[in-house]
């Protein structure tokens, strides 16, 4: 009897490990025994401590979240997409499930009976390897996108444990330390260290460590004249040296350093000072070992050679942001760090493009605008940018413009691969309109500011939140000066901006109910971006430009700064600053939760306290609006 549905499923599965290792006939055998399960959103397939099912699962469509619950808090372990295998526990263990599998959206999964699949595992070592690997990988694997459809870990590590594991990993250190004998002369030793660019040297006797000399020893013993330059090294070394065995963990090393108040540890074969020196661990090694720290991420970005690598870093950044928010690190601080990292990613993308295209024919500057220009970007939103190149001779103009357009196209494509969507309004340097020479840009800004609303209605106030990412600082200065010059006695411009800021729809109605979207894809949700955050952003920009705050683009910092330069209304500004942080946090949490840009919030999912908190955050907006109306006589465009 034929079975075309089984054939179809076999054709789907053969694209994914471990099914790709099976022959077609074997696959048909498997698929004819499959059960297809429909899971509506939020439906649980199995949860912690459930009895093991007699099947394991493959995602056919939708997304399944694997999570554990620790301390009454749900921690996401993994997201499974189409083709991912999960629920492998019954293969290897007899005890109950250790995690919860829950549909994040409407999903369909295939249940493959263990008894049917087991023979293939036994016959086919590759299949066994794959399953074992999936089951036993010790790391939580969200970064392992390279292996998508291959590895889904089935082990349980909560976020906390994850950090601990990192903490207990063995660390990389200098395995070829500089060594000198006891009789070495201090001056020679210092020279040797300088040549080798290290800050420490191990003093050995028959290759056993008896002491260590570091920069600080030279400072505290030689440079202040206590010992002459020609003393032997044993006079100034710190002894005994603290020794550790190989494979010491980060935690242990850190404890030893604290306990003994030293900055270096000496690694020996058996961990005592009576064996051979194997290396030196410095404090710096410990810092580097705490992966996912911003410094390391930036380093990784600088080394990246492909969009893929950059994408991995961007994903780590998401993790970093998530854990930072969980740890209640102040939002402005996170803004700063993530802003720097994203800037580094964009910079690297431009560098990669330049590597491909050859060096640019003229000086230029690449600006980020919009949220990244304001350094308020956490989530993967769309990219906004523009490019200015210096004025060149007329006959060269076409080639130069051509080059920069190509450069911009390449760069925006790389960024798209990293995960930043193209701007739907085309506000990107790859757009002919926004990749222009300096003099064209001057004309552009003059147009915008002197005759606002005349030529094009979308003057895009985002062009006033720019940040130099790459290229000539002088170009940025020119732009700053230009804007400053144009703002003087330019009531019309502020009139326009002011109206623009006020045009947004109110977040809550007369009855203090949220104004939800009435139609479209996001029906019933609250548009936090346009109704709550943008008015604050626009307001901050308006005041920042009018009061000539240069070089501060971040909305939060703008309000803070405004409170200082315009003390009369400082209370309103400070309230707005706080409101902005609160609303941004809501948006970020929503975005992280749903892998979206967080623009739309499902109000029903909020707790009562959160709802009130959010509504209270709308109050300063009203005050800000009044202030705008008061300060700028808005007449022309109202």
């Amino acid at each position: 009897m034929s079975n075309s549905v089984a054939e179809n499923i076999a054709n789907f599965l053969k694209e994914y490990s471990p099914f790709s290792y099976l022959s077609h006939d074997e696959l048909i055998q498997v698929t004819t025994s499959i059960g297809v399960i429909n899971l509506d959103k939020h439906k649980i397939l199995f949860q912690i401590d459930d009895k093991l099912h007699d099947s394991f699962y493959v995602v056919a469509s939708g997304v399944i979240n694997l999570s554990v619950i620790a301390d009454a808090e749900e921690t996401l372990l993994n997201k499974c997409y189409a083709g991912d295998v999960f629920g492998l526990r019954p293969f290897f263990a007899k005890n109950n499930y250790m995690m919860t599998a829950k549909a994040r959206e409407d999903s369909i999964v295939y249940a493959i009976p263990i008894t049917v699949f087991k023979p293939f595992v036994a016959q086919n070592p590759q299949v066994l390897d794959f399953l074992l690997e999936s089951f036993a990988t010790n790391t939580r694997n969200p970064f392992d996108k390279e292996n998508r459809g291959k590895l889904i870990t089935d082990n349980v590590y909560t976020e906390g444990q994850q950090n601990e594991i990192q903490y207990f990993q063995s660390l990389a250190y200098n395995k070829t330390p500089l060594k000198v004998s006891v009789s070495a002369i201090a001056k020679d030793t210092a020279q040797l260290m300088t040549e080798n660019l290290t800050d420490n040297v191990v003093v050995t006797e028959q290759s056993h460590p008896i002491g260590i000399v570091t920069d600080s020893d030279f400072r505290s013993k030689i440079a202040n004249g206590r010992f002459p330059l020609i003393s032997t090294i044993d006079k100034i070394m710190s002894s005994p040296v603290i020794t550790v065995p190989e494979n010491v963990s980060v935690a242990e090393a850190q404890l030893l350093m604290l306990k003994n108040n030293v900055s270096h540890l000496c690694v020996t074969v058996d961990g005592s000072d009576k064996s051979e020196v194997k290396g030196v661990i410095s404090e710096h090694d410990l810092i580097v070992a705490q992966a996912n720290n911003p410094g390391v991420l930036i380093k990784e970005i600088k080394r990246s050679l492909s969009p893929k690598e950059l994408k991995l870093v961007r994903e780590k950044l998401t993790d970093l942001i998530q854990s930072s928010i969980a740890k209640n690190i102040p939002l402005p601080h996170i803004y700063n760090i993530s802003g720097e990292i994203i800037t580094a990613i964009i910079k690297r993308s431009i560098e990669l493009s330049i590597l491909d295209l050859g060096s640019p024919p003229a000086r230029f500057a690449w600006f980020s605008i919009g949220s990244q220009g304001r350094k308020e970007q956490f989530l993967l939103t769309d990219q906004d940018s523009f490019l200015i190149f210096e004025d060149v001779a007329e006959e060269k103009y076409r080639d130069v413009k051509d080059y920069f357009l190509k450069l911009a196209k390449r760069t925006t494509t790389i960024l798209e691969k990293v995960g930043y969507d193209f701007c739907p309004n085309g506000h990107m340097a790859s757009n002919m309109l926004w990749c222009k020479s300096m003099s064209d840009w001057i004309k552009q800004y003059n147009n915008w500011m002197k005759t606002p609303g005349e030529k094009s209605n979308d003057i895009s106030s985002i062009f006033f939140d720019y940040e130099l990412v790459f290229g000539e600082g002088k170009i940025e200065d020119t732009l700053d000066d230009l804007i400053l010059k144009n703002t003087k006695n330019n009531a019309l411009f502020f009139d326009y901006l002011g109206n623009d800021a006020l045009r947004k729809n109110a977040p809550i109605n007369f009855f203090r109910k949220f104004n939800l979207e009435e139609e479209g894809d996001h029906k019933g949700k609250f548009d936090i971006k346009n109704r709550a955050i943008m008015p604050l952003v626009d307001g901050a920009r308006l005041f920042a430009i009018s009061l000539n705050l240069k070089g501060i683009n971040n909305t939060y910092l703008r309000f803070k700064q405004l409170a200082i330069v315009d003390p009369k209304f400082s209370e309103i500004y400070l309230n707005c600053a706080d409101a902005f942080l609160i609303l941004s946090k809501f948006r970020t949490l929503e975005g992280l939760k749903n892998d979206s840009n967080g623009d739309y919030i499902n109000v029903e999912e909020l707790s009562k306290v959160d709802k009130e908190k959010m509504k209270n955050a709308f109050a300063p907006m009203k005050e800000l609006e009044e202030l705008i109306k008061d300060k700028f006589q808005l007449t022309q465009f109202s």
Binding site: M1, S2, N3, S4, V5, A6, N8, I9, T31, T32, S33, I34, G35, V36, I37, N38, D40, K43, A60, S61, D106, I108, A111
Partner: protein
């Protein structure tokens, strides 16, 4: 009443007696059935193929399936239609009475599920009549009606395609009765869960 008299007077074929005997117990099995026909008139048109898959405990059992192409050479010839699809199809092929018998054996006392299932049943009953059997006794559920009930709409009809799109189910190429049956099965388990009946 008339059925009952017939039953006394007429000797049914063996497979039909077996089929009737199955209804002594109740089934928890659903058979999702899709029928491909030459048209919409039960009197004139004929069945070209069946595709069916079973659902037990809300799980679609891929292995518990039925698909067959019916050799309607005579009908196709009489109506000047091409029989290419019969020749090319890789599915098992049976003559009409054998196909219906196989189907009846397969469905047993299960609850039938389909999209506009009553038309399918009517088509099958017509053939059964020719074979001196009674009518199908199975209960039947229609995904279109289930959907209408869920949305509380009665004045609008929904094609299978509409339903698949509405529930954002994966679109397959849908070129055979089996593919349709699978789509209906996915719809059915979804609707069943949403309507909350056992």
């Amino acid at each position: 009443m008339i059925d009952w008299i017939k039953k006394i007077n007429k000797e049914y074929p063996d497979f039909w007696k077996l089929y009737l005997a199955k209804f002594e117990s109740k089934s928890n099995r659903y058979v999702v059935l899709s029928t491909e026909t030459t048209g919409l008139n039960p009197k004139k048109d004929v069945i070209l193929s069946f595709g069916a898959v079973a659902v037990v405990n809300d799980v679609i059992r891929i292995g518990d399936n039925f698909e067959v192409v019916i050799l309607q050479y005579k009908y196709l010839h009489d109506n000047g239609l091409s029989n290419e699809f019969l020749i090319e199809s890789k599915l098992s092929k049976l003559a009409e009475p054998q196909a219906i018998q196989a189907l009846v054996d397969y469905i047993g006392n299960a609850v039938l599920v389909g999209h506009r299932i009553h038309f399918d049943i009517e088509m099958i009953n017509d053939v059964l009549e020719k074979m001196d059997c009674g009518k199908l006794k199975n209960e039947a559920l229609d995904v279109e009606i289930m959907h209408q009930k869920l949305l509380d709409i009665t004045n609008k009809s929904f094609s299978l395609e509409d339903l698949v799109k509405h529930y954002k189910l994966p679109l397959n190429e849908r070129n055979s009765a089996s593919d349709d049956a699978y789509s209906i099965a996915l719809l059915f388990v979804k609707l069943k869960a949403r309507l909350g009946f056992k």
